[in-house]
Symmetry: C4
Subunit: 249 residues, 4 copies
């Protein structure tokens, strides 16, 4: 795939995550550069629904932009850079505040795979507590490399992690996979909360989770194609409106 | 009804189930061939929202395609074939992961008819546990005839069954009826969960469930016409976008 | 207002109730004839979203159509006729299965006004149990005058009543008022269920409920105008699709 | 910013709050006049989705219109005037009945910031009880200056307050900020209720709430631009429909 194709997919990922309710005015998705693993692509600071190819910037492993040309960066770009640094297997990352996951981030309840669609959650989900590294008086944001590194450590080898009182991080080895994970982690949270109110839950066991995850990876084109087709029409209107924000930068 | 009419209705059923939130990128609906009861019609592997007449394939009672011509099949087509084999009364089948039903599949809570719209649920709803046939390490999918047969046995004479950690199956004697059942089983799950939190629930008794089911069968054209009118406009855009997936196959 | 204006408003009420999720393929709304209080207007048997002026029929106090001309009637038209018979103050009626109200109909939980928007609920909400009149083996439907009369008796002087395992009835002295009531009764149910999970609820007392109801009646044009403007665009597409159902009758 | 720009933003705020589900047929948003702090701008009595520049009126600190020209005022304009009187720091106010907040208004449950997006909630949220000032038999509405003053006193120095059995008030130092607060207070209520069902909740502490609130204020253009772009298309249709209401006034 050419760099142009990768950028197109990253733009589509932004629109899909917005359309599916994973991100709103906030949240972001990045992808590692296909030729240089020490770089990654991420939009300038903009609501994902309005991102276009010309908004995509390149970043280095220190989380700083390589071709800013006056474009403003997301404050929390260190979420991406620090995870890419310690996880060579990771090719794409989504950070969001998607709603059903927030309650799991602030209670002792472990997010676990309730059905095969969320097998990637494995047997447990880490929760990052910013107070451990940043103390009791942060503004909750991953606004420097140190906090990014602490978050990356908390994520560990997982495919998905929660951030207390803030949101979540999904990682994957392709853009399609990470978009899938961000969307179905949110669905899983909604269904798990509901199930816990009905009675004792039988979760996928480790073998089932691993098997289901593998099977879903093989079929990840199908939902991607659907999501991509859904955003085509609606995004056209949105990006026109976003010109206002574009001109203000 | 001509075969062409049946295919049109099957395409419409795909779009309706997508529009009403029963299926997303996954899930499928089939119908028994009108002339040969040993065959059934099912789309190639595609998100239901994008299915067109040219995607519909014929399958035999072994779950294998009769006219694939390079088109890829759904992995879980054995759900359909094995139920058609043992249920001559069944003319149409929906398999989905519709969200409100998942919590009922993983807890000991019996799905029961909370109102007349879901009388088809009768007095209880079977739950298929894949571990019983497939052991503790499957990927949760009905990927062969043996698992399909076990599922069909679990469904028994019911109109609706749950699959633990996976989803559900609705069967019916017409496409319109099975679409109705798939949609209102989902609604019933949502309302039953809510009602159980409010207090002790008075469900329809067996006579009421049977009577209501009969009455609804007589009026199944009305919601079908509504659903069909709702998808007309939105599907046009979707299928254009789906050309991307179409070309990739 | 001319009869033509009344019919237009009744068509709009059908579309609004559909747009706002109170009715789906099922449910209906009627209005008493402006010149002859012994007649009322109600659509032929059709999903409310597709109703047009030419679908509106006249009914007598026995629930039978006066100008059917081959058009099929709703089975449950006796809900309307029997309430109009005993409630001369009632000018418009909505029957629906709107979702949040169903759980209240099947548990012992009393629906009560949680905020000023639903003051019309007063201090309690009657629940009609069809078994009391129809015995333990009905199909849950109000399919004759006897069951309609029993329902009307259960409604009594109330503005709103639940029907166990079935749905609800809103009555009002104008179409706008009854549409308002049907919509906000549904909202109230959703919010009351949620509030009951948070703690002990302070409901409106009788004086507050009465006062708020009076205030809302005075402002009922405002939401009606909003709802009517929202349906204008979407209904156009729907009614075209409904031609299919129209031709089949 | 010119007065024209302020009016445009106020119109946009009306449409955004409607689009995001904070207001429906009811609720209103005002902004203090940019040149004369003793005046504020507020639409005539109209559903927010239909508000245009020509509907915006000026009010004095007594809550009475200065340029009515026959246009009808919102009954509850005293919510705005009395808060502006005692809070010189406040530049914009939203009053709504947004659904997730109602349950918090009628139970003893304190609304608290569950994540960084709602840091503006601080450590607690006041609840206005109209019975304290108005006695046990009001119609729940802030229909005079005395009730407005009592509400303003209850709000105190807070950014957000609940009104028992009625709704809520958000205040801010810009239109963008108050719209942000009204939207995310609603989200917070939904997530907090959900979290409380999962287990003991770790809320933002005071320092985190203050820090997050500051950070969000700096980024308030981003969601505003997104929301504004979303309303552009849909509002066009709505306002056409609203002409009906417009002509009736």
């Amino acid at each position: 795939m050419s760099a142009k194709g990768l950028i197109e997919d990253l733009v589509a990922a932004n629109h899909i995550l917005s359309q599916e309710g994973v991100v709103d005015g906030f949240g972001h998705v990045s992808v590692r550069h296909e030729k240089d693993p020490e770089r990654f692509l991420l939009s300038r600071s903009l609501a994902p629904a309005g991102v276009r190819a010309s908004d995509i910037m390149e970043y280095g492993m220190d989380g700083e932009p390589l071709n800013a040309r006056g474009r403003k960066s997301y404050l929390e770009r260190y979420i991406h850079s620090e995870i890419y640094r310690v996880r060579p297997d990771v090719v794409a990352i989504v950070h969001s505040h998607s709603p059903a996951l927030i309650p799991f981030s602030v209670t002792g309840t472990t997010l676990r795979p309730i059905y095969h669609m969320s097998g990637f959650l494995g047997s447990t989900t880490p929760v990052f507590e910013i107070r451990d590294e940043g103390g009791p008086a942060t503004d909750m944001l991953i606004r420097d490399r140190k906090l990014g590194a602490a978050l990356a450590k908390s994520v560990g080898r997982a495919a998905f992690a929660l951030m207390r009182g803030h949101g979540s991080v999904a990682v994957g080895n392709t853009l399609k996979q990470v978009v899938y994970r961000a969307i179905y982690a949110e669905v899983n949270a909604r269904l798990q909360a509901e199930a816990m109110r009905l009675g004792t839950v039988t979760y996928l066991n480790e073998a089932e989770a691993a098997g289901a995850s593998l099977a879903n990876d093989a079929g990840v084109d199908r939902p991607w194609d659907l999501w991509r087709s859904k955003v085509t029409a609606s995004v056209r209107t949105m990006t026109r409106g976003q010109n206002r924000g574009r001109l203000r930068k």
